[in-house]
């Protein structure tokens, strides 16, 4: 195999292929996130009740709208693999970039582990329902991750084309369930009148629900990881990202409406796969089968997108020597970051096998939240260092700095939400990021080429 490690002295640098369009960007973003409608979001019902979860869904939807607006402007301008990591390198500095890269790797690798666990568990549940109880889900976990890794290894175009098909199928299963529960005929199937209650914890429960409200949308910012592989960054990224967030807002609203009309909130707040459970409660075998397939597809699509995104972030850090340069290699034939893909696979499997699903999910959410907190700082510095008109932007988001201010405020509220019930985990994660930051600043940074970090053909930033 004649691979080439980037960063070493080479006569010609192999780049990732530019083959993706807006539909692939949509498939990457929605594919990662849609599983959040099938599992995980409902823990927000447990923390704040059904209405608390709905308010969290909308408020956190606003948070992600700000994320998508900011990301669309910066990524369409900084078109490089690594997404927010590449942005941080150009606007804030290496230590921030290292942290942002790690947020991405941790958020996606742990989400991938959770997706694979859900796939295995759901297959075991279905096997039990068909008369084969006690099926060990672990081989399915390994098989899922291994097959998706192979797909990612062989090329990004096929990977995201597959994601487009299975994500669209999973979204369609939600729409079919929505039609199947006859929303035009309240009381026939849906029982909102009898099931909806007042806020069980009052308004503090609504705030606490923000933590898992993030699960409705976690990962949509992953569209930025495709920046180096899209044919037109200025068109594909804003179009794919904004249409993705609209799709998710629709899916989240439908999901809330269906499940709260069928499942008591106390059960819903701790269920493994609420849409699947809702389908079983309709008594329809057709809906049951559709939602089984939809849930599996959503988990597989998410794991697939996570492998794609985590490997791009890890690859980018290797290429820049933030991590060992060995990871910064592109496959000479498939043009994929194959070493980064392969390295992260056993790690994802081992996270899945720790059995610490709630820890893994919380680490993923917190890594995502830290990444969102970086964005307002990033946006402020980006506009300050390169004001409008000083460089060519693919897209300019409106109402700056309002989205950045709203985003920072909502991030602060969400930290408080995580503190309510998961304060120890929050401190442990922050402790982890503080230790690795010290490790980078005082050890790892010595291997980094300084001027090579700035790769965009931009003028010198204002004030430097």
């Amino acid at each position: 195999m004649t691979d080439q490690a980037l960063g070493q002295a080479q006569p010609q640098r192999i780049n990732l292929l530019k083959v993706l369009g807006p539909a692939h960007v949509w498939a990457l973003g929605v594919g990662i996130v849609l599983v959040g409608e099938f599992m995980g979001w409902n823990f927000s019902v447990g923390k704040g009740g059904a209405f608390g979860s709905l308010i969290a869904c909308w408020v956190i939807g606003l948070l992600y709208t700000c994320v998508a607006m900011i990301d669309s402007e910066v990524t369409s301008t900084v078109a490089a693999a690594g997404g927010q990591y590449a942005q941080a390198k150009h606007t804030i500095g290496p230590l921030m970039a290292f942290n942002v890269g790690l947020y991405l790797v941790m958020a996606y690798t742990m989400l991938e582990a959770a997706d694979a666990l859900v796939t295995g568990d759901l297959i075991a549940i279905a096997a039990a329902q068909f008369g084969h109880p006690g099926l060990d889900p672990r081989p399915f976990v390994v098989l899922t991750i291994a097959l998706l890794a192979l797909l990612n290894y062989r090329g990004v175009f096929m990977t995201l084309s597959v994601n487009f098909v299975i994500t669209a199928a999973a979204f369609t299963s939600i729409v079919i369930l929505f039609i199947g529960v006859q929303p035009w005929n309240p009381g026939a199937v849906l029982q909102h009148q009898g099931l909806l209650t007042d806020l069980p914890y009052g308004w503090i429960g609504v705030l606490a629900a923000f933590q898992f409200g993030i699960w409705y949308y976690l990962g949509i910012e992953g569209t930025c990881q495709a920046a180096e592989e899209v044919r037109s960054a200025g068109r594909a990224l804003p179009l794919g990202t904004m249409s993705g967030i609209i799709t998710l807002l629709i899916a989240a609203s439908l999901t809330w409406y269906i499940t709260t009309g069928l499942i008591p909130w106390e059960y819903l707040g701790q269920d493994l796969a609420p849409l699947y459970t809702a389908s079983t409660l309709t008594g329809s075998t057709v809906l049951h089968v559709f939602l089984f397939v939809g849930t599996i597809f959503s988990a597989v699509a998410s794991a697939n997108g996570c492998i794609n995104d985590a490997s791009r972030a890890w690859f980018s850090m290797g290429r820049d020597r933030y991590m060992p340069v060995w990871f910064g290699a592109v496959h000479p034939r498939y043009r994929t970051p194959f070493r980064a893909i392969l390295f992260l696979i056993p790690i994802a499997v081992s996270f899945a096998f720790t059995g610490l699903l709630d820890q893994v999910i919380t680490f993923s959410i917190l890594s995502g939240l830290l990444g969102y907190t970086f964005m307002p700082i990033n946006m402020h510095k980006f506009r300050k260092k390169w004001p409008l008109g000083s460089i060519r932007r693919g897209y300019v988001h409106p109402w700056h700095p309002l989205p950045a201010i709203v985003l920072l405020s909502l991030c602060t509220a969400t930290y408080f939400a995580v503190f309510l019930g998961y304060g120890v985990q929050l401190l442990a994660m922050i402790g982890f990021y503080i230790v690795v930051s010290l490790w980078f600043a005082f050890h790892r940074y010595k291997y980094v080429r300084r001027g090579d970090q700035f790769t965009m053909p931009w003028p010198r930033p204002l004030g430097y």
Partner: protein, 142 residues
């Protein structure tokens, strides 16, 4: 004019150790709350008036005074619980488990200081490194 920085070459063993160290830290962060016995959401059991729960030495739980009405469940809710395969005692285990949202001010203060301090450190240190990057990119000579 700034001098171009030439980083040392890292050995294969050094690259392996750095990767291993980072992953070991991730596992430590995951496992630390477990070792401290402080995982998951902070929950408590809240029993409705007139309902008591007795736990035997072998861990089996028996309920007294337990009805769907005492758990605040109306006939619609009861019907859905039963469709899910839960009787009143099994449902009570879930319904009576509630989050505890009492706030310890000192703990909140420590958490806030940790998060704010972390970001201040990141921005400050990054700014120092960024100035080196810009100086080398735009001014450097070999």
């Amino acid at each position: 004019m700034a001098q171009k920085y030439d980083p040392p070459k890292q050995s294969g063993l050094g690259q392996f150790i750095d990767s291993f160290f980072l992953m070991a830290l991730v596992y430590a962060a995951l496992l630390l709350p477990i070792l401290l016995g402080l995982t998951g959401g902070a929950t408590e059991t809240v029993l409705p008036d007139g309902v008591t729960q007795i736990e035997a030495e072998d861990g089996t739980v028996t309920w007294q005074g337990l009805t769907w009405e005492s758990l605040g469940q109306n006939p619609t809710m009861q019907a859905q619980w039963e469709k899910l395969g839960y009787d009143v005692e099994a449902a009570a285990e879930i319904i009576t488990t509630r989050f505890d949202y009492s706030i310890a001010p000192l703990s909140l203060l420590i958490t806030a200081i940790a998060i704010i301090g972390y970001f201040i450190f990141l921005v400050t240190m990054s700014e120092k490194e960024y100035r080196e990057v810009i100086a080398e990119k735009f001014d450097a000579r070999r």
